[in-house]
């Protein structure tokens, strides 16, 4: 099941199986063990397939950090570039210190219409005009460094 975030996937798997078993058990307490085993097996297979799919698409989330001197329209510009590429903004945070900003955007890249490389290049280009810099990294990098 281990794809981008194995821990989250295992948690998801356990929740899924528990839900499925609880639903069936509520409906008919006298079900045999064989049925339960089949339910667990099918749920595990579904979760594994989901994990494989996530893995095949190289994980789903990218972390876009933009830094530079504060300028009008940076947020609009980068948000537009993300939307144009088919990315879905999941979270934004921004800090501003002494006229310099750091903006962190988490983007769901599962439905990107262009390649990851083109997506990156597009964002770098979009903010470069405003004198800002942009680094796009796979979420796995942040997870690897900041989560045990």
């Amino acid at each position: 099941v281990a794809a981008g975030d194995p821990e989250a996937e295992i948690r998801e798997l356990v929740a899924r199986v528990t839900r499925a078993v609880a639903d069936r058990a509520g409906a008919d307490v006298a079900r045999s063990r064989g049925d339960l085993a089949a339910i667990v097996a099918s749920e595990v297979a579904a979760a594994v397939a989901a994990g494989e799919k996530a893995r095949a698409s190289g994980g789903r989330r990218a972390v876009v950090t933009t830094t530079g001197r504060n300028a009008k329209g940076v947020v609009a510009k980068i948000a537009q570039a993300i939307a144009d590429a088919g990315g879905d903004i999941l979270d934004i945070s921004q800090t501003l210190v002494a006229g310099y900003f750091t903006m962190i955007i988490v983007v769901d890249t599962a439905d990107l219409e262009i390649s990851f490389a083109d997506f990156k290049a597009g964002l770098v280009r979009a903010v470069a005009a405003l004198g800002a810099e942009c680094l796009v990294m796979h979420e796995d990098v942040v997870n690897a460094l900041q989560r045990v």
């Binding site: 190289g58 989330r61 972390v63 950090t65 830094t67 999941l90 979270d91 945070s93 800090t95 750091t102 962190i104 988490v106 990851f116 490389a117 990156k120 680094l135 796009v136 990294m137 796979h138 979420e139 796995d140 990098v141 942040v142 690897a144 460094l145 900041q146």
Partner: protein, 460 residues
Amino acid sequence: MAFWESSEVREVLRMIESESLDVRAVTMGVSLRDCAADTLDATAARIYEKLMRVAERLTATTAAVQADFAVPITNTRLSVTPLALVTEASRAPRVVKAAEALDRAARELGVDYIGGFSALVEKGMTAGDRALLDSIPEALAVTERVCASVNVASTRAGINGDAVLEMGRVVKALAETTAREGGIGCAKLVTFANIPDDNPFVAGAMHGVGEGECVINVGCSGPGVVLSAIRRLRAGGAPCDLAAVADTVKRMAFKVTRAGELIGREVARRLGPPARFGIVDLSLAPTPAVGDSVAEILEAMGIEKAGAPGTVAALALLTDAVKKGGVMASSHVGGLSGAFIPVSEDAGMVAAARAGALSLERLETMSAVCSVGLDMVAVPGDTSAETVAAIIADEIAIGVFNNKATAVRIIPVPGKKAGESVVYGGLLGEAYVQEVSRFRADAFITLGGRVPAPLLALRN
């Protein structure tokens, strides 16, 4: 933020952008055991063909992983089965052609170095080993990217005194065949004790005989990140004792190793079978860039110049903390996994040597608590083969009797005297020619035979 604290993301950004967090080396080890043939030409052809086939997508893959993960991969390299084992069946007395096959493949694959022009002679030498050793001075002069290593001792086998003496001669001959470039060939030759099978770092990289068909080994980021963390700790003004320094190093080593493991696994996954992920080597490998120096870490810890009293204690603390942080972060730690102290490749080390703080003897002592040993050390061109061999013997003994890997990469720079410099450029940096004791050990080093294995070897 919902996913991470923004400070966490900003820390990753800072490590990548201003503290040179990177993956120092992604090294693909390739077994060439199936390339042995009954002529050297056929062997060389098989070697070339196999490397071109197995490593075809290597550099493209590391470039793609680097682009997706935003963690720079500084070097992509190859290592192969110790070549003497492959060329031996040809019964050729010289095997330079095999080195040329490695060189050509490396060049065409876009790989800057290929390690494994190697022989394992810790207990004795076969005809094939002899042919390889005899070929080193020419092979490393006519090739550009090939690196050689010779294991002359192990804790289990003891020290092969004949091989140590032979290496003194090989080093001298190699300095002469590359004399016009300051003996640069010697930068590509390492004499080892307890050579690791899975070291991703050149010049000592090789693909051990117990390894699989193809493996991806990763060398972690350099000293830059650790240096910045220690400087921040000391500048922070909070109470800071030795344990606090160790703890800071440990935390950084953890993060750096996690990045290495992530990248290594991803490269192996994208390459697919037969490539498999091997190990992460925790070594802090410096480069000549300012701020990317192990010496500067020691200085940030409070040592005035690397080599000053206190250096060994500081280095021991550093190496140990790197291991403790790294081992938690990776499921497979291997290679050399210490701190490198290559003199010419580390700007702080060169400065310390030039200032008179760092003698050959001091480096030797430091190597007792870190990897690798006397690394990229330049000595006067008139140092005799016997004295080079005796210097090698000392360093090798430290490894054998302390059950660790040690190595010697020494350059007797032709025509240069102690106190002079030679610039190699690139990753090899600038070497400062160091003084060698004027007392000699010729009568000892030419005794020949083997130093018996230490008691440490009898562990059953």
